[in-house]
Symmetry: C2
Subunit: 696 residues, 2 copies
């Protein structure tokens, strides 16, 4: 990469070409999509090929677009930001380092891919048709976040069939999540009693930079929490409420062995946010939170300048990267968009541990908070705990290349990606010097995934594309060059995250990629004013063929991000192991009904095809009842539940599972508890009559 005095002009020219292409495209551009009947009204913002010219742009861009109205679209030039530039002198150092990384990284990945393809000759994926016939299994698990549904969704790839939902931050009756004592207590206590969440970034635990199938972690942006899903039982088993912070946005982990899970705090608030300093934004802060994956306890937090956003961990465990915006520390949109650059923050994890161990922190809300702001004394000297790498405004996505050499960031307000040399971060005096590439990708670049063959794939929100580019070529090329781009493909429409198979590991599979598109517009049968999103599956395994669109999958709002794991790396349980369960199993013959005192009853019962151990239970109005129930079946997929009408209880019981619930029998009457899982031919007859005798 060179500092070319013409680079800025050249970028402008390329922008013009982009605009021209956008303006020429029509809504029905040969993709087979029916035109939207309603079409934009005359006074509506124009939508061209899924790109809103108005409103999707910055204020600055909007002004320019407005000026250009009715004139040649090429006149609507993008603003030229004052991008940080490398000194020429650094280039050779960086190139040398990068080349070594590239050789080892690429060679390793290519051979891994070849080996795996050889083993997969009988699979659906290897058939070349990307089809999964009835009865065949998918090749991959996709774990998609459910956005403001607060759940995780498990999708099979390449069929894109939704295999399961895992409720995380909200109660859900089909699985009885939040209905039994354990999960309702977790939501109430660790979950701080909130009834919903906003899951964004599901990440599967790794060992030695590969998926180990133990856990999935996911954030709650709405209420500042982090949750863990047990991938043996596909059930949320821990929630941690994160203090000193509002909106845990990014979620990722320290690699190679999931030593820590990181929650990237977004919104700046007073610390703690208990009513102090509400009118004094200078006192607000934003923190990175490190959580122990085993205990889910918070180890420490690091306060930084500005709002943070997404994050990713380096492969060797030293660095963690977070993007951010609002370096202005403004509190309104206009205040937040004054500056022309923001930062990627590189957290030096061992240095932070040292600070914590040396007592260089302030304890806030019971958590050690280390000062990682720019002016902190901990950021002076040779070993700053946080290095601030200036990038074009509002870098949004950041992800580390499989070889561990680069962190690649990009943001919606600049058409380039920023390639940061990870090894260089510790070596350079000025963090800007670690920037070794800045290829021009397209309008609104957000997130980047990898195929293990040296390619990066970046979504462009405004252009509505996935852009494939060569990241080593980007290091070689001039800043602002489009030459590293090797392919681009329309998506429908306005993509956020994208994910390639095992992109977050050291050895991506390189065959499939999903673009999570925010708008579906007219791609599906209309279903009212709330549209589904559109998750599009691409095959990327053939570099000659380029990006191949395989499927459109409508998704209930709003998947944000995903992890894709090969099926051989997940080993779910088929029935519960009673040793894993914290409460005692009730075997046949062990059922009991015990009246402890005038108003306390304990019931231990079991369920099997087609009966509950007690066909009848008599209670007195006002009784406090603790009911424990086991499914004594040992056959996989024979699930029961006990649904108690009017009492808002439905405990789902997989084979060998035991659940408990406590309720007050405050409504007199007859209540037929029934099994809500259609379990056998006599399923309808499976019930227990609960008689609540009235208090005289």
């Amino acid at each position: 990469m060179t500092t070319d005095p013409n680079a800025s002009d050249e970028r402008s020219t390329r922008t013009d070409e982009h605009d021209e292409r956008s303006a020429d495209a029509t809504p029905d551009d040969g993709t087979g999509t029916p035109a939207d009947d309603a079409g934009p009204a005359d006074d509506e913002p124009e939508i061209v090929d899924g790109r809103t010219i108005e409103h999707l742009l910055t204020d600055h861009e909007r002004d320019i677009a407005s000026t250009a109205e009715g004139t040649d679209a090429t006149a609507a030039k993008r603003p030229t930001l004052d991008l940080p530039r490398l000194e020429l002198g650094r280039r050779d150092f960086m190139k040398a380092g990068a080349a070594v990384g590239a050789m080892s990284g690429l060679a390793g990945c290519t051979s891994i891919l070849a080996d795996e393809e050889g083993d997969d000759s009988g699979s659906a994926a290897a058939s070349g048709e990307h089809k999964v016939a009835p009865g065949e299994h998918d090749e991959y698990y996709g774990f998609l976040s459910g956005g403001h549904t607060g759940e995780i969704r498990v999708v099979g790839i390449p069929s894109m069939r939704e295999l399961m939902r895992i409720p995380v931050f909200q109660a859900e009756s089909a699985r009885g999540y939040g209905h039994d004592a354990k999960t309702s207590q977790m939501l109430e206590e660790e979950g701080d009693g909130h009834v919903w969440g906003d899951t964004h970034h599901p990440r599967v635990s790794q060992t030695d930079n590969d998926y180990d199938g133990r856990w999935l972690f996911v954030n709650d942006k709405a209420n500042g929490r982090m949750a863990r899903v047990d991938l043996e039982y596909f059930e949320t088993d821990a929630i941690t409420n994160v203090p000193n912070c509002q909106g845990v946005h990014g979620a990722c982990m320290q690699l190679p062995d999931t030593q820590l899970v990181f929650g990237v705090g977004e919104f700046r608030v007073p610390m703690p946010n208990d009513g102090r300093d509400v009118d004094d934004p200078d006192e607000y802060g934003s923190v990175l939170t490190a959580i122990d994956p085993e205990t889910m306890d918070i180890e420490w937090q690091v306060e930084v300048d500005g709002n943070m956003d997404n994050g990713d961990g380096g492969k060797e465990g030293r660095w963690f990267f977070a993007t951010g915006y609002n370096s202005e520390e403004g509190v309104t949109e206009s205040e937040m968009t004054q500056a022309d650059r923001d930062y990627v923050k590189a957290f030096d994890i061992p240095a932070i541990w040292d600070a914590v161990e040396n007592g260089e922190y302030e304890e806030i809300s019971g958590v050690p908070v280390v000062d990682g702001t720019m002016d902190s004394s901990l950021n002076e000297g040779d070993r700053p705990i946080v290095r601030y790498v200036a990038t074009p405004k509002s870098p949004h996505g950041v992800s580390v290349t499989p070889d561990g050499n680069y962190a690649i960031a990009s943001g919606k307000l600049d058409p380039s990606c920023t390639v940061i040399d990870i090894e260089a971060i510790a070596e350079v005096d000025d963090p800007q010097e670690a920037i070794v590439g800045q290829p021009r990708i397209g309008m609104g670049p957000l997130h980047t995934a990898y195929d293990g063959r040296g390619h990066a794939y970046t979504t462009t929100f405004i252009d509505s594309e996935v852009v494939k580019w060569d990241y080593e070529a980007a290091v070689e090329a001039e800043a602002g060059s489009e030459e590293p781009v090797v392919d681009r493909h329309d998506v429908h429409y306005n993509p956020g995250h994208l994910i390639a198979a095992e992109s977050y590991t050291a050895s991506p599979q390189g065959d499939y990629l999903i673009s999570l598109n925010k708008l579906s517009k007219d791609r599906f049968l209309p279903v009212g004013p709330i549209h589904p999103e559109n998750d599009q599956l691409f095959h990327i395994g053939d570099d000659d063929a380029g990006l191949e669109l395989i499927k459109d999958k409508p998704s209930y709002p709003e998947p944000h991000d995903a992890s894709v794991v090969h099926k051989d790396k997940i080993d779910p349980a088929k029935t519960w192991d009673t040793d894993d369960y914290e409460i005692d199993y009730v075997a046949e013959g062990e059922e009991s009904f015990e009246r402890i005192d005038d108003s306390t009853v304990e019931i231990e019962m079991w369920a099997r095809r087609n009966e509950f151990s007690f066909p009848e239970v008599t209670l007195q109005e006002g009784d406090e009842v603790t009911l424990r129930i086991s499914n004594v079946e040992t056959t996989s997929d024979v699930i029961h539940s006990i649904a108690i009408p009017e009492y808002d209880i439905n405990l789902a019981l997989a084979p060998q599972d035991t659940r408990e619930v406590t309720f007050t029998a405050d409504e007199p009457g007859v209540f037929w508890a029934y099994c809500a899982y259609f379990c056998s031919a006599l399923h309808l007859e499976m019930r227990s009559r609960i008689l609540v005798e009235p208090d005289e």
Copy 2:
């Protein structure tokens, strides 16, 4: 149909053949399904080709199977139930009537089908490949119930992609359902405050026996409610809590014009169920409930003997049919399975209206309850309000043929379907004489759908099949004959309901059929002890090719039933019409912040890309805040929300929609309200800072 002295023996012989086939099949029967690694343990019930030999059977059958253990499977003979039989003298009358019906019905349906196919030559369905390429639209809307998730799911057919979820009986944050004042009040008041429901039977409104696309109705089996979904906005707009009743199970309507919606009460309870008569099961009752579809008010109820189950309406508006079990009126499983027959109840709707208008009812919980029990004086004389047609034990499904001639019922405990001549019901002295056919279908027949070409398709729960048969041939054939069966196809596994395209109208489309299977076992990648169900799509449009399996679709537990409507019959809104909305829209310029008194604040605001009208709102701790907000966008699919962290609020705002919420600002601090729908490039900057100043 004749009374053949050998018919009973012949049925036993056919049963033996079935057993033999089941026992010979292996789990991996050439369908490409990987064998279940875990396999059944030695002490587990044997599962053969998805059929559990143990436990799925009746007590009687289980005894026989146990005796036959280790011997030739053909020795495990099914019990021969003492089925009701027609008198020979009725046969000719019935045949003559049926033949006329068949001629008009079949001819009409065939020509309708041909016309529609002619128009559909460009559609995915007509391409013969049943594929929906990216960007193409599906041919049908499938509305599937979500079982104990309490929701409705909208699925595209034939792609089987889930297009949307419609929350009905539970709050849901992505759509803000239960978060805004209108929907939270509906759940709290009309919905009786329950937090979950168990949806079973989604039915779309009809005019002149065809779908009119106005509404969808669905029951709540758990808490005895009925809900209405507005198919313009795909949103639940009314819930009715049904008294005198526990478990509204079946749901269906009076045809041809949706004059009434019926909820079929299942569980027998005291009326009202307020603590009286808890120990006196003789006083329990079960009711059919008739609801006005416009007002959702309850018009009347009819009390009957025994538990009811599913229902369907005749095409001409006079009769409504409900199946039932527990004619013994027992309270335990063994008491409920003593008798060898139960009843299909035929409700004479005009006669019931007459009784109500004549004041022949008792008012219970404010509802006129008409006595339709067997011993009621209203069932004496020429025009009984309910006719009890005895069938083999526990008839479960009942559905009326498209020509309106027959109601076909079947239940898991007898291998036959019962064909009831609807015209005959009013004419015969003994309701048994209206039974005109009783073909042998297979083990555990549950539900029946139609193709409009004279074929019925019945699911067999124990055999795990969809069985195609000719219902006019069944009227011609001897009771117990298997001759009317023209095709059968394995499903995977244990199907409940099935639905064919527009099967509930007078003119089914005849091309697609979905079997809703309760177990998926090893059909999909394993996802822990809670398995998805498996909804299998078949093409049934080619009678020569027979049933053709197209797709397996995993489904989150637990879809029960569905309605399938051609895409041209649904016309959803793309944005909200502010005239349709009950609260005032807030246009740009109309925003206001008003402090009413020391502790009451009213905020009217709007949202658009990328801002809320108020970048900042200052409240005092303890303020009672009413917030009304409009999305002022006019472009389809540009959705916003206002998510308020820590306050458990997320109001989804489709274009032109307005929502309101009232909350108490009881937590001091700074709370960044944000938009949870990724709406534009500056989506992340779209927020409003809510300052709650502490009470000093």
